[in-house]
Amino acid sequence: MTERLDGPQAPGGGDAAGEPPGPRETPPAGVTAPVAAAASATAAVPAEGAAPPRLGPSPRLAVMFLLPAVLLLAAWMIYPLVYSLVRSLFDASGSRFVGLGNYGSIFTDSSTLTTIRNNVIWVVVAPVVVTALGLIFAVLTERIRWATAFKLVLFMPMAVSLLAAGVIFRLVYEQDPDKGVANAIITTVHDTFSSSTGYPGARPRENDQAPATVQGGAVVAKQQAQPGRPVLIPLVGLSQDVVKDAAPAKAAPADGIGGTVWLDVVRGGGGTLNQVDPQEKGLAGITVEAVSGSTVKATTETADDGTFRFSGLPAGSYVIRLPQSNFTAPFNGVTWLGPALITPAIIGAYIWVWAGFAMVLIAAGLSAIPRDALEAARIDGATEWQVFRRITVPLLAPVLLVVFVTMVINVLKVFDLVFIIAPGSVQPQANVIALEMWRVSFGGGGNQGLGSALSIFLLLLVVPFMIFNIRRFRRDES
């Protein structure tokens, strides 16, 4: 940095012929600074000719004016960039030169490859959806009263910092429907159509003495049912609160084929295992099947005291089965924060934040569209859809492109939302390049060589879009 400091100064103090090299040094690194590039060009061009009389201020003055900007650029942009580039060629300790080794490990390490894959998903999905939603909102709000109020509401998320938005969505996606809004909605909708029934979580004891076992989700009595030998099916795993109003369990009468299904647990412990004790509660309303071979011969339900009885069944021995439907667990919503859905979930949060921003930009572009073009189309008999597709969208294309490209750049460096929304256990699955870069260099990884390589890699991804944007701005200006 100090070299650069000296660079432009030395010629500034000398004769005019020495000046061009000073300003000219900036363009190669000044990718991110069209202003500096343009300024240095104007400064350099007259010096090129040397012979014709100079227009404008003297080179010395030009250098003086340029110096603050050049210094700041050098300090904040060029030096860090060059240093990162150099650092990326060294190992974790910074003492051993490893050449392109760090770049190699970006493409061989499976966890880094996941981050690249996730970034691809982000870039493909998020900018398109944000732009499309922005367009839809902008076109629709143009037609309604209270458009400003509507826009204000949609734009509001922009006023929330990404960090806060992350915290909000971490709660929204919470698994527990009592906490997470997303699952609260889904379970409510689900439960209006099919609610959970029976006794979720009830199961027989898992040991050899237990009279029943689980087979394919259903509870099956080990003892075959025969007339005069009631089947005992003790269940456990239910909270006492579930059965606090239930009738005490009773042993089934000895005649016919029947038995008892009850909760074989006494509050505070005690009771005889696998025996109907007086304090124990019967489980009412459980569907019981009598199976012979592989066909269900009869079906019945348990009474309040947990007893059941098959009437009119031919004598013989049957397998007694409590089908799985008695024990279906309540629908618990979607695991948003699990490994499978985490990236889509975070993209959802991102869209919530940025859709309003896209809408405002596009709405501004929309108001600049010549009305007569739209009216002409309508007079010619175009439907609203045709007007939208053939007139509005093509005329809006430049604005849409700006929004889209801005979003792409923005998405490539996404960090905070992923960092906050993904729980620690799914961070590897949700990881993106920018987050991995931070983690590897500072967040415990301690390998700033690899981190620098990642940052350079990210820069290379962003640069094409930057150049594209700059070119467009130039074209627009000329």
Binding site: Q175, G201, Q240, V265, G269, G424, S425, V426, G444, N447
Partner: protein, 440 residues
């Protein structure tokens, strides 16, 4: 570092006992003054000590400093480093103006600063105190390149299981003393009664490493524990297989864990504490003494509804794992060495022990000094474990392995929670990650 809110810990426990004020300090000072020969040897000496504690913890520590001042005549100023001790000390070391004494939240920092030459070796008097009050393990922990630089002055007890008394009452379950009883009796009884036995905060990877370390220390013994800490035996070792299999007896049973593995993996610390004491959905949470800080927020009282059992023994002896803060000298001054000597001594430890929220690793500090029964119980386990007390293994490992979200041991154990049957696969991943992190 997250593991070390430690201290915030027992504040809730004994907020009531906060009244002791400096009276206790001066008393301790004057009673020991005759031993120092009557005159105050450090009159006029100024000492600056930096630690991360704030609030009540700071106030409690300052009482210890007052007692030291009263005894020696030195004047000590306290500077709080904030949560990131490294970020505070780094610039001061660079600037050539470090505090006389710093209290570091991780032993790893001792190594790091010693490499930088920022630490001064402890004087023979301090070492004499360490030899007298600590087992050789702790001396080694505070050493780098053969020199003794630091001493553990404040401990967090990580070998605990917190349980909810009402859940145990309802189920008729009893605290267990062996792992097998914990799994087959306590947890099974709770599960049968309809209460999920365990709430795990598996989204915070360090809760899983703590669980593993306890099982490993108890089943494989302190020697293997030391070797594995330094990566002298591979993670594919048979002792690790045993420990992971034991761990799977709990984490591999869906009905034993609240929400199953998938639910647990979305639960951050201290949400699992809330699930046990606030929502009353589970009965036990396996974590350190600092759970006490989260219990009152859930409306439970430590010692009544919220009780602890020592981590049951998996092998021959029950494990005792500590985390904690290490004091080091950064400026060569008589005052700094004297302060460390005091902090490492029985006398200084007992002054501190009378304050709430403090647990001493010093084996000669009598448990009777602690203001509440819970801490007494914890201190007793440390003393009775004697030579086999160990420091948190993941805090001793390079942080890329033992302390990073989504990487190394944290990630591998979380993956193990997803597929608890694949012990071999988990070991291979652990070994691969450890090899990468330790080679640097």
């Amino acid at each position: 570092m997250r593991k070390l809110p430690i201290a915030v810990a027992l504040l809730g426990v004994a907020a009531a006992a906060c009244g002791t004020s400096s009276g206790g300090g001066t008393q301790a000072g004057s009673s020991s003054a005759p031993a120092a020969g009557g005159a105050k040897p450090l009159a006029g000496v100024k000492i600056e000590v930096a630690a991360k504690w704030t609030g009540d913890e700071q106030a409690n520590f300052e009482k210890v400093l007052k007692a030291f001042e009263a005894k020696t005549g030195a004047s000590v100023t306290y500077a709080s480093t904030g949560e990131d001790t490294g970020a505070y000390l780094g610039p001061r070391i660079e600037g050539g103006n470090p505090p006389d004494v710093a209290i570091l939240p991780q032993p790893g920092l001792v190594q790091q600063y010693a490499d930088q030459g920022a630490l001064k070796p402890l004087s023979s008097q301090v070492q004499a105190q360490i030899d007298q009050n600590y087992t050789p393990y702790w001396k080694e922990l505070g050493s780098a390149k053969g020199q003794v630089y630091g001493v553990l002055v404040k401990a967090a007890h990580k070998s605990l299981i917190w349980y909810r008394q009402s859940a145990f009452d309802d189920a008729g379950a009893q605290p267990a003393t062996t792992w097998d009883d914990l799994v087959s009796k306590t947890a099974q009884t709770l599960s049968d009664s309809g209460t999920t036995p365990f709430a795990l905060c598996a989204a915070s990877g360090w809760t899983l490493t703590d669980l593993f370390e306890n099982i490993y220390l108890s089943s494989a013994g302190p020697d293997n524990y030391d070797k594995l800490s330094k990566h002298e035996i591979p993670w594919t070792d048979a002792s690790v297989t045993t420990a992971l299999q034991k761990m799977a007896q709990v984490v591999g049973k869906k009905e034993f864990i609240l929400g199953g593995p998938s639910g647990a993996l979305q639960t951050d610390f201290p949400t699992c504490v809330t699930q046990v004491y606030g929502q009353k959905k589970a009965a036990m949470v396996i974590e350190a003494d600092f759970v006490a800080a989260s219990v009152p927020q859930s409306g439970a009282k430590v010692g009544e509804e919220a009780k602890i059992m020592p981590f049951p023994k998996v092998g021959d002896t029950a494990p005792v794992i500590l985390g904690g803060d290490v004091a080091v000298v950064m400026k060569d001054s008589k005052g700094a060495q004297a302060l460390l000597e005091y902090l490492a001594s029985k006398e200084g430890g007992e002054v501190w022990a009378k304050q709430p929220g403090y647990l001493s690793p010093n084996r000669n500090v009598s448990p009777d000094n602690y203001p509440d029964d819970l801490t007494k119980q914890l201190a007793q386990t440390i003393i009775s474990a004697g030579e086999s007390v160990r420091y948190d293994m993941s805090d001793l490992a390079p942080s890329a392995f033992g302390g990073t979200d989504g990487k190394g041991e944290w990630k591998d154990l979380q993956d193990f929670l997803r597929t608890p049957t694949d012990v071999k696969g988990a070991q291979q991943k652990l070994e691969a990650d450890a090899a990468k992190a330790f080679e640097k």
